[in-house]
Amino acid sequence: MRKALSMLLAAAMCTSLLAGCGGSSDTGAADNTADSAADGASTSAAGGVFKLGGTGPLTGAAAIYGNAAKNGAQIAVDEINAEGGAIQFELKYEDDEHDAEKAVNAYNALKDWGMQISLGSVTSKPCEATAAETFADRIFALTPSASSVAVTADKDNMYQMCFADPNQGTASAQYIADQKLGSKIAVIYKNDDVYSSGIYEKFKAEADAKGLEIVSATTFTDASANDFSVQLGEAKSAGADLLFLPMYYQPASLILKQAHDMGYAPKFFGVDGMDGILTLEGFDTSLAEGVMLLTPFNADAEDEKTKSFVEKYKSQFGDVPNQFAADAYDCVYAYKAALEQAGCTADMSAEELCDKLIEAFSSLTFDGLTGETMTWTDGAVSKEPKGMMIQNGAYVGM
């Protein structure tokens, strides 16, 4: 019995290994075309289709962001291809498990596939790693959602569709000061996270400049993200009337719940990572009543573009899209606009496209789901953040 079993397993192993080998020889073939394309030879991608690639966490704890971006981009690509214009896209997303090493692997796999323009990576740290690669390989990249400053720093061909972290921190502090939302502010942030601590740093600097008083700043980490009673207790005893939560919505939902349970009801102010809290499974949305957040995208907006996007997303993927999906959707359309403006054709090599796109993006003005008249300087986008408040389980502009 044991013998039979081990033979069976060994056989299974062999076949799977062979399957793996098959895959690798495929990518090998793709690599040759990529190489010849990169050499600037006249080999063209099939049928004038631009090969668009991106990496993101499609599995693991951060999978929700990667899949949202992938789905959002897919909708845009499908729309553009259905229209049948001159510019067509072929989209491929590879899994990076929210890890810098895996992201570089995924990026290389995309290069083997023949990627001409890149959507970077979805999350910040992996994107910093792939940005260094795209910079070295001269492949143009526009990331939907990697928001840390280091992503675009010192790279002329790396662009962001989302706000950079510091902008969010500064904008939040300005908004709170201008609207006089609170005088004593408590902050809870995740100090092992680039996004959260990046926003906090700039928020603190701007709050000091604007004369806002931060009475309590407490932290948590990945390992301690399931109990916030200490942080909330400190904020409460410091008499904070506004709690700033620069973090993603899962820990924020827990904070709202625990604050409610201990009878502490300050104003809550979040950033774009808070978007998604209303669709979180098992979360009582009445707890989020009155929460304010700065976000570039609002799935409940009444304009035609947003409505059709949300509808398509819902019918295709069964969820309400979050800002990651919207950012990725915008990325594809921004690419379309830039490629049209620069007069690019799909038989250009990645390097040629890169030079043309750098030129195009420096003068591009783009209207998308996540903002109007967006422009780019040094890779960072400038668009107006929208202040939103949650009322009756829906976003309402402030």
Binding site: L9, T59, A100, N105, N108
Partner: protein
């Protein structure tokens, strides 16, 4: 007489196979690179593979040869990684020659990891039992949390270090090297496949020589029966510490190699999962089997990338393969294969002796 000859050939066989695999693989990959037949995917993984091989070989010294369980090997890797980054960034103007700078960084990284090894080893290795596993596990987490609150910056005045928050102001032209939880960004990549290859050779040379030397036999005697070893005058703690510290030093060097291959590194990368990953390499390759570690580290690093073709089932298949390999390692089939091989070798030896 036959026994000693057997022992000698066992040592020589280890050398032959280990160096053979590594040099052959290097030659093949280099030809592939020169003739342009290599996929970007494989090319991108070369340095991480080298780093993981060194990690696996060094951990094998602790787990396989010394017989102590270590669950925090990634902690030493982390020490080496961040120390290496500080060194290479600080010396960027002084030593423009990249390979020399990398070598220096590796030496510093290795030394600091060795110091960490001594700090852990001195109290813990005096004890019998699984204490080392518990303490190294904690050590890995401690290092992760320390680096998360560590800020190191450099400007014209020199290095500035602070904990918890950046308490220093950098002068004009200064640069944050380690920026707390944001880790390191914008590192100049120095690691090359050749540097990884050289590090593997050095590691193999030192580790294999150690194992087949008098010291190595003393270490193995501690593993097999510490009371007997003590009775013949072997200082158990000393040999345990020696093996553990050497193992830590190589992990530090591997960490430097790994970190200098990416433009960004965070402390969170070197967590418990990475320690376990390296332990899996060692266990699958066979405890005490150095070339087994090399093959296991390579295969298990490349495998997830090869499986990209099957998309969503990638991780599932990877897990099944791991289980299958574990089962095979413990199966009667393998035992029988090994026995057959040993019998063949014995008869060959006998023939030669005749």
């Amino acid at each position: 007489m036959k026994k000693t000859k057997n022992l000698l050939t066992a040592g020589r066989r280890d050398y032959l196979i280990s160096f053979g695999i590594v040099i052959l693989a290097f030659a093949v990959v280099q030809t592939m690179i020169l003739t342009g037949n290599i996929t970007s995917s494989l090319k991108g993984q070369l340095v991480p593979i080298c780093a993981y091989i060194v990690m696996a070989v060094s951990l094998n010294l602790t787990v396989g040869i010394l017989g102590e369980l270590s669950l925090g090997h990634a902690g030493f890797m982390s020490v080496g990684a961040f120390a290496g980054i500080v060194v290479t960034t600080s010396l960027a103007d002084v030593i423009p020659f990249a390979p020399l700078r990398l070598a220096l960084a590796m030496i510093v990284g290795g030394l600091l990891a060795a110091v960490a090894g001594v700090i852990i080893g001195v109290p813990v290795l005096r004890l019998k039992g699984d204490y080392l596993a518990i303490v190294t596990l904690a050590f890995g987490e401690i290092i992760k949390n320390i680096v998360n609150v560590l800020y190191i910056g450099r400007d014209a005045k020199g290095l500035h270090v602070s904990l918890l928050e950046p308490k220093f102001e950098l002068a004009e032209g200064g640069k944050m090297i380690i920026n707390g939880p944001m880790g390191v960004s914008g590192v100049a990549k120095l690691s090359t496949f050749t540097s990884g290859f050289v590090l593997i050779l050095i590691t193999l040379f030192l580790v294999l020589n150690l194992i087949h030397s008098r010291t190595g036999r003393a270490i193995m005697s501690v593993r097999d029966n510490s009371i007997a070893a003590e009775s013949v005058g072997i200082s158990v703690t000393r040999y345990k510490l020696l093996a553990f510290v050497i193992s830590a030093a190589f992990a530090g060097m591997a960490g430097t190699l790994y970190a200098m291959n990416f433009s960004t590194v965070t402390a969170a990368k070197f967590d418990f999962n990475t320690s376990i990953l390296v332990l899996v390499f060692v266990v699958l390759g066979g405890l005490g089997n150095i070339w087994g570690s090399i093959i296991a580290a390579t295969l298990l690093t490349v495998l997830p990338e090869l499986l990209r073709a099957v998309r969503d089932y990638r991780m599932l298949i990877y897990a099944i393969l791991l289980i299958a390999m574990m089962l095979f390692n413990n199966s009667k089939l393998k035992v029988r294969l090994m026995e057959k091989r040993a019998a063949k070798r014995d008869s060959k030896l006998n023939k030669e002796a005749d």
